[in-house]
């Protein structure tokens, strides 16, 4: 019962605080009279007109599709190569300068190359999203593999587990907590890069809409797009946390307080 009231309080907080923030924003923006910070009421009106649900199929769905594809590709590539690099000193030494080099390249600076190789369409955008999302997961995977408990490593060696078993049943579960941390960061990057990639050669998409609005000084529209991005960010994360909780029960049991 005590646990019940506690979680009830937490849910209440989680709802109350955003409402408070919105209220403050409402009051402040109503009196601010700034061109770039229009009243919240205006933003909400524009939000309702734009997204509920006029542009939903035309702008939202294509954006999300590209985002998920890029994200998925990034995660797969990052985990596969991260495991390889985490396991082999030589591979890690060899790849390290290249990895550190490429992940410091701004995605916007990569656009020319991406356009040349992938054209201006779908593939280019997916590439840009994947290119950026790959690094947080990759680094976390490598570091996660390197942090595997030495006693577990020894157990694995002693019992001569097959490579498949080592990967599937030891390495992947062991690194999962840290990989999830990386995926969480990358998820937000995917949303950001969805917008950046739509700076080029787009005819639809949330990012495209925000940038067009910004360029044509439709500031309330721009904020409505940003609002939508934020809402997506929140929802995606909520789904993510839900999945994570389900897959890491064991981890929560041995980490931090169990009471």
């Amino acid at each position: 019962m005590r646990a019940g009231t506690r979680s009830g309080l937490l849910v209440g907080l989680e709802i109350l605080v955003p409402i408070l923030i919105l209220a403050v924003w409402w009051v402040w923006s109503a009196s601010a009279d700034s061109f770039y910070f229009p009243p919240l009421a205006e933003i909400l009106r524009s939000f309702q007109e734009t997204w509920l649900f006029a542009r939903f199929p035309t702008d939202v769905l294509p954006s999300l599709g590209r985002m998920f594809l890029g994200y998925a590709i990034a995660v797969v590539i990052a985990v596969v190569s991260g495991v390889a690099l985490g396991l082999s000193v030589v591979a890690r030494q060899a790849a390290s300068p290249l990895v550190e080099f490429f992940r410091a390249i701004p995605p916007t600076a990569l656009l020319p190359f991406a356009i040349l190789v992938f054209g201006v369409g779908f593939e280019m955008k997916v590439f840009i999203i994947a290119f950026v999302c790959v690094w947080p997961v990759l680094l976390n995977t490598i570091d996660g593999v390197r942090a595997i408990d030495p006693v577990l490593r020894e157990t694995v060696r002693v019992y001569r587990l097959s490579n498949v078993d080592q990967l599937r049943r030891i390495v992947l579960p062991a690194i999962a907590p840290q990989v999830f941390a990386g995926m969480r960061t990358s998820l937000s990057l995917a949303v950001i890069l969805m917008v950046v990639s739509e700076m080029v050669a787009s005819t639809n998409g949330i990012g495209y809409f925000v940038l067009q609005a910004q360029r044509s000084f439709d500031i309330a529209e721009m904020w409505s797009g940003i609002l939508l991005l934020g809402i997506f960010g929140y929802l995606l994360n909520a789904v993510f946390i839900w999945i994570e909780r389900r897959s890491l029960t064991w981890y929560r049991a041995i980490r931090s307080s169990s009471t």
Binding site: Q93, P112, P136, Q178
Partner: protein, 272 residues
């Protein structure tokens, strides 16, 4: 043959460990450069729009002797370093706070997850309006973007403390400060250091991006000039320079990591 344990050549290797550590990356870098040159020479990539390796490296060599290049580099580095410093100064303490106080985290989860996917491009008007087009605007964008990976990783790291350690701290009534500073934080350090390395690159990327869009100096500014003038090999030479900055920043991060994580399995296995 085992996967999980690093395959290390025994100490009887004819090359010293240091030399061996340099051979593999050298081979990898040379191979990449050769592949690049081949891809352009063979025509896999259109040479009119993508420079070959030799001409880009020549460009870069030309840049290296010009002082304005180094000034630009220093400007970018300054923006990235300050942005990173802010990200560290805010991201880790807030991550510790939110990672250790559940009601706080729950209370601000919505605004946090709302802000996290804010694209920097959409924030540029805000950055320009509030912080201007100088160093401050650049630092703001770099700090804003670099904050999140550090913050998220710190929050995750705070949950990575062993439950027995937590119970130990509780039973000895270790005071809050020590519990955070000497128990939770060190326990979270492996995650935090990974986050710091991600953030360092993000700070650099955003510093360059800010320069691309509104700054008056720095690598991004030079890249923008080169791009808008169609000077392709110059542009790629500058992009490579940005990559080198990333290598430099990472070297710093690895240096720090090896010190603060000397107790961690991932680092201590490197010890003899």
């Amino acid at each position: 043959m085992t996967v999980v344990v690093e395959t290390r050549s025994p100490s009887t290797s004819s090359l010293g460990p240091g030399a061996r550590g340099r051979v593999a990356p050298t081979i990898a870098i040379v191979a990449t450069l050769v592949l690049w040159q081949l891809a352009v020479t063979v025509g896999l990539i259109d040479a009119q729009y993508f420079p070959d390796m030799v001409s880009t490296v020549t460009q870069l060599a030309g840049l290296v002797v010009s002082s304005s290049f180094w000034l630009a580099l220093a400007d970018t580095l300054m923006g990235a370093a300050l942005g990173m410093a802010w990200a560290v100064a805010l991201g880790i303490p807030l991550g510790v706070l939110f990672g250790s106080t559940e009601w706080l985290y729950r209370a601000f989860r919505v605004p946090i997850e709302f802000l996290r996917p804010m694209p920097s491009v959409a924030l540029i008007p805000v950055a320009v309006l509030v912080f201007g087009t100088g160093l401050e605007g650049k630092v703001f964008l770099a700090a804003f973007a670099a904050f999140w990976p550090l913050f998220v990783q710190t929050v995750y790291g705070m949950h990575d403390t062993d439950s027995v350690v937590v119970e130990t701290a509780r039973s000895y009534r270790v005071r809050t400060f020590d519990r955070l500073w000497r128990i939770k934080l060190p326990g979270a350090l492996p995650f935090i250091m990974t986050g710091a390395r991600i953030s360092a690159a993000v700070a650099l990327i955003l510093a360059v991006t800010a320069e691309l869009l509104f700054s008056q100096s720095g690598l991004g500014y030079e890249i923008n000039l080169a791009r808008s003038s169609g000077a392709i090999s110059l542009m790629y030479a500058l992009i490579i320079a940005a990559g080198f900055l990333g290598l430099l920043l990472n070297a710093v991060m690895v240096f720090i990591e090896q010190r603060v994580l000397s107790w961690h399995p991932s680092t201590r296995e490197l010890l003899p």
